[in-house]
């Protein structure tokens, strides 16, 4: 017996990352590329050209069967049985107390076929919960974590680059839609989703095909300025876009309403669902009192706020806590998301500071997101 943690898992593209000289990091039990060169350059490439990501750590779970949609309606807070074939939905899975177990994207691949994509760190929890909650339905839950590699191509040039490698109708593929197709000669589920605030695609494919598709995208994207991108810039991209990250903005300690994401909870769907009672109470609470609100903070100085740092009012009292913070390549200044007392959440609130290792640094309260792409 040993207490040493298990060796991190490696994706199908591991050798490629090493050949590219990536700095690797342990992320949720996976050895993932943190960055290949400058994370700021990678960030800028996604905002202005295109970036290529290996996201194979994400956890895929398939639900199939005549009642797969009803099973998801029961298991999740969203109304997935109403989702059209070929479309995707951002949703959450909660516990009985309404606490968020994970945030998810669910794709409807067929009448009786759904693909649930969970965060790597929560995939086992989600798999176990879905398996249990689907018990009374004509639906089977399958662990497909090893069945898929996930490659994302994100940025304004993404459609042009991917379009040169597929016959799929990308122009007709809406945001949050996905269709089966062929990319570089291999089968892939092509989805117009992402976590960067840019247009882009996510490709679910067999791990054995991952190298081939990565190579093809690298080659096809080179003239447009596509570069490989690591998880470091993925984090700053999503932060600028105001997108929550599980473990930072979301946790089992809060409900979707506390996170300002109550819209994902569909009380009017048929049947009961796990957490309904607690979520109805949370919804009423949110209507009457808003004890804290997720806000954006932009630094006036250059010191970077980090998760867990205290947010202070002008009188020095503690009014909240930073959940994510980073230097923003697009704004050129440090930014953060923070939960603050609702009385201080109004954009432009005077005197708000972040305690950065003992120094009170001035911050401007702004509405989220920090960045919205031009369409």
């Amino acid at each position: 017996m040993t207490d040493a943690p298990p060796a991190p898992r490696r994706t199908a593209l591991d050798a490629r990352h090493r050949a590219l000289g990536a700095t690797m990091t342990d992320f949720a039990g996976w050895d993932m590329p943190l960055r290949y060169g400058s994370e700021r350059d990678e960030h800028t490439a996604v905002r202005t050209r295109a970036g290529l990501f290996d996201l194979s750590h994400m956890g895929e779970i398939s639900l199939t069967g005549p009642q797969a949609g009803q099973a998801l309606d029961h298991a999740l807070v969203g109304h997935l049985s109403a989702l059209a074939v070929g479309r995707a939905r951002y949703t959450m899975i909660c516990d009985d107390e309404g606490g968020i177990l994970d945030d998810l994207i669910v794709y409807r691949l067929g009448d009786e076929q759904f693909l649930v994509v969970a965060n790597a760190a929560n995939a086992q929890v989600v798999l176990d919960a879905l398996t249990e909650r689907a018990g009374g339905f004509e639906a089977s839950v399958r662990d497909d974590r090893d069945a898929y590699a996930l490659i994302a191509v994100q940025g304004p040039e993404a459609q042009g680059i991917l379009g040169s490698l597929t016959d799929a109708d990308l122009a007709g593929l809406k945001y949050y839609a996905g269709l089966p197709g062929t990319v570089a000669g291999v089968p892939a589920m092509i989805a117009r989703t992402g976590y960067t605030g840019e247009d882009g695609f996510e490709l679910f494919l067999a791990p054995d095909d991952a190298e081939r598709v990565w190579e093809a995208l690298t080659e096809a994207g080179a003239p447009a300025g596509l570069v490989p991108c690591g998880l470091s810039c993925r984090d700053t991209l999503r932060l600028e876009a105001g997108m929550p990250l599980y473990g930072h903005e979301l946790s089992t300690d809060i409900t979707p309403f506390d996170a300002g994401l109550g819209r994902v909870v569909k009380f009017d769907k048929p049947g009961d669902f796990v957490g309904r009672e607690a979520l109805e109470a949370a919804s009423r609470r949110a209507d009457s009192v808003t004890p804290r609100t997720l806000v954006g903070l932009v630094a006036e100085g250059r010191r970077v706020p980090r998760a867990g740092y205290a947010v202070l009012a002008a009188d020095g009292s503690r009014i909240g806590q930073v959940t994510s913070g980073a230097p923003s390549p697009t704004l050129g200044r440090p930014i953060a998301m923070a939960y603050v007392d609702a009385r201080y959440a109004k954009p432009g609130t005077e005197g708000v500071t972040v305690d950065i290792r003992g120094a009170q640094e001035p911050y401007e309260v702004v509405a989220l997101p920090f960045y919205r792409r031009e369409r």
């Binding site: 943190l34 994370e39 980090r306 230097p327």
Partner: protein, 126 residues
């Protein structure tokens, strides 16, 4: 990655130039350290005229992912700081041994465990 032979190194990944005729050495962080940090976005350096002590923190370096303490590899009085790197912290990444130097110290004492370039290279690679 090659660490210049004419410099000496600390185990905290700072480099130190040979003292000039006034006994002043230039200090920076190594390319190894800069690569490990990622893009440096903010540097806080000791004040000119202040005294730093070998092995003790005298500033900080912030990158996208983290904040790291800056340690003084020797003891002495700070005679100059690199204003260019304060204004453009990316110099730490692009030229860690040259334009990305951090501060200069009139050395009054140095620890016995400063490393040669070869020894530092072996240390950093393990």
């Amino acid at each position: 990655m090659s660490n210049p032979q004419q410099l000496r190194y600390s185990k905290e990944h700072e480099w130190l130039s040979a003292a000039d005729e006034d006994g002043v050495s230039t200090i920076g962080i190594t390319e190894f350290a800069a690569n490990a940090l990622g893009d440096v976005v903010y540097v806080q350096l000791p004040d000119v005229g202040s005294t730093v002590s070998a092995g003790e923190t005298c500033g900080e370096l912030e990158s996208t992912k983290s904040v790291s303490d800056l340690y003084a590899p020797v003891s002495g009085e700070v005679t100059e700081i690199n204003e260019d790197v304060v204004n453009d912290p990316a110099l730490v990444n692009s030229a860690p041994f040259e334009g990305g130097w951090l501060f200069k110290v009139k050395v009054t004492g140095e620890p016995e465990d400063l490393l040669s370039a070869d020894d530092y290279t072996a240390f950093a690679e393990n």
